[in-house]
Subunit: 402 residues, 2 copies
Amino acid sequence: MPIVTVIGDGQLARMMQTEAIELGQSIKLLAGSRDSSAAQVCHDIVIGDYRVWEDVERAVQGAHAVTFDHEHVPTEFLNRLSGMGYSVQPQPAALLYAQDKLLMRQRLEKMGAPVPEYSAIESVEEALAFHDRVDGAVCLKARRGGYDGHGVWFPGSREDLRELVSELLGQSVPLMAERKVALVRELSAMCARTPSGQVAAWPVLESVQRDGICVEAICPAPGLSDDLAAQARDLSVKVATELGVTGALAVELFETTDEAGNPQIFVNELAMRPHNTGHWSQDGCETSQFEQHLRAVADLPLGSTRPTAPVTVMVNTLGGEEAPDSPIAYRFAEVWRRFPSVKIHWYGKEWRPGRKLGHVNLCGYDATAEGIAETRKIANLAAEYIVNGKWADGYVGKPENS
Amino acid sequence: MPIVTVIGDGQLARMMQTEAIELGQSIKLLAGSRDSSAAQVCHDIVIGDYRVWEDVERAVQGAHAVTFDHEHVPTEFLNRLSGMGYSVQPQPAALLYAQDKLLMRQRLEKMGAPVPEYSAIESVEEALAFHDRVDGAVCLKARRGGYDGHGVWFPGSREDLRELVSELLGQSVPLMAERKVALVRELSAMCARTPSGQVAAWPVLESVQRDGICVEAICPAPGLSDDLAAQARDLSVKVATELGVTGALAVELFETTDEAGNPQIFVNELAMRPHNTGHWSQDGCETSQFEQHLRAVADLPLGSTRPTAPVTVMVNTLGGEEAPDSPIAYRFAEVWRRFPSVKIHWYGKEWRPGRKLGHVNLCGYDATAEGIAETRKIANLAAEYIVNGKWADGYVGKPENS
Ligand SMILES: Nc1ncnc2c1ncn2[C@@H]1O[C@H](COP(=O)(O)OP(=O)(O)OP(=O)(O)O)[C@@H](O)[C@H]1O
Ligand SMILES: Nc1ncnc2c1ncn2[C@@H]1O[C@H](COP(=O)(O)OP(=O)(O)OP(=O)(O)O)[C@@H](O)[C@H]1O
Ligand SMILES: [Mg+2]
Ligand SMILES: [Mg+2]
């Protein structure tokens, strides 16, 4: 069975290991430290830095495929590995468009995908000109290295934009700007593709963001018309195919309305790896995104993307402002006692405010608006309890022996 | 989060690790070798022998709970660990009844559970007397250490029995005999129990055995009356409660007919750990037996045992007479190409004839007799292809580009 080198040691790599175990694959990890999320649960590990060539080189030895849990590996390293004959999945030529938001926009526009109005920003003047062009509705972005909203800014005024751009350019941060879209909501269209060209798409889902971080996902997206769902799904398949993406692909989408008031989608960004909005698939789908990614990068046929429940809700557990007093196992117990169907996924990371420490999934068997609302309510209550050690609805537990 | 020491390095321990990763638990393994099934995928490992006290002692250091993937750890070690204050789950007083088939029969009889007629066998004379009592329908069993039908004999004649018993007693194998039951089929009633006394039962399923080895499981058991299903389920809950079992419990059952021709069940044996007949739960149930076992041994509340499909079929892939020519990844690919819903679980073990190398699960969404037959057919075809590299139904694959 193939040995897959995973560059990265976060929760995505950790959850790949879960599936690798069942598939009989061996994961070899390039991890920053022994106690990182993924390194805790893998046996074959190289401790090193993905920005240091020698470390990368050590980690890929013997690998049948090389893949990633983030997009920050220097492009030159990826090209070098490819040149040495390693099977780098996704390939550097595709990954580039997940690494650089400006190149991504340009490439998407070229293939006719709907994108918000945008511009490269290399000077304060360009920024101000763009500001005037979009009537001040500016979203400024670092082209590279962003995650969870780090590297995304919404300057409140022309003056703020001027200051921000001059500061960032002073730090040599490559920038772009795009129109701030009047969001109805955000969607995610995910699929996976093999080097041989097989593509399998998951149902299109709704993702809820707070401060640039995904906090919740509902699959399938409630109330999405068949038309728009098909459009979003086809778009993800087209992106995967035209860019030659391999492994899991998430196409983050904005849903907004056109002038006539009809729903309309724009592409926000691409992620070429398992993605936070795909975690629902661990408990709500015949093939999880982590299994699919591992199958895809090894060029094995893809699995069924049939959902196993009418609706599945995922809620992230982000570290709260203060670490709760109660031990984590106690909080899990309380959640499970109240809601035996809640599935908890925990990343083994140290608590830190705002940090993604885990997530919960919950399948719902009632796909009416009320049913979905109820499933979301329970999943959110569970996640909040894990974070705060308090029930947001004031629940005080069952009396003993009831 | 709790550290759980697992004594044993086979596929059951390996699949516990899969769930431990998602639960955020840390598994510490006592493994016979570095390349054993479970040791391949764990990081915290003690290499040693479960029959050597010093090795066991090293493996349990720092553990919040100690559990097993087999029942062969010497009872005296378990008692010693308990005495030292370790949380041994299941506790030695319960595990005893999974370790010794005679004590199990006696204990089950005492609680009023239906068991086949049986007898301790300490001499050839006792064996022959039992033979005459049951009109030659004798099943001879080693009291301890059996698995996969090793330690189970069906002597063809009085003379065979005499020879067998005298040989085994000569080797100091402790024996018992029981009536050979006229099986209609075999069932399995599984549940899990926590030290605090919570019990959750899975649906009762049918298991198919060949040469004493489980080859297939169908959940729920097709055509089982509600009455008999409830009787079997209640029996498993009663056994768990009365024996104080903790973790997963499998009650292996014989279905036969009474004199009036009505279906009737007898207990065959107990396993106090995740069990081959429970593998379906990995893909067909909200909570898998491995997750449930880890929750139970840490005394955390149990998860929902709701099935996610009307029927789930599990088929073991047992090593064939000869290792097939094609690489295993190629065989997986062929199976997935033809049947994208088949879930393969692979144990990372070396091929050996008859050895359990993995299993496949398949959910079916049509619970009619024909629907179940079709699901079973596909799961069996897939498993056979993995074993032999040949389609048992003569399928020759799709032409290229179809
Ligand atoms: N043009 C825009 N108009 C309105 N909102 C935007 C726009 N661009 C980004 N956002 C908001 O900011 C969030 C984060 O933006 P983006 O996805 O580009 O950042 P990121 O840091 O790369 O995040 P990720 O963790 O998804 O990689 C979006 O999900 C959306 O809520
Ligand atoms: N009394 C009996 N009458 C008829 N068949 C029996 C009897 N006892 C055992 N068998 C057959 O032999 C199989 C194996 O028996 P048993 O479960 O006792 O053995 P084991 O080696 O402990 O197996 P396991 O791997 O399940 O622990 C049973 O599943 C059944 O098919
Ligand atoms: Mg984003
Ligand atoms: Mg048995």
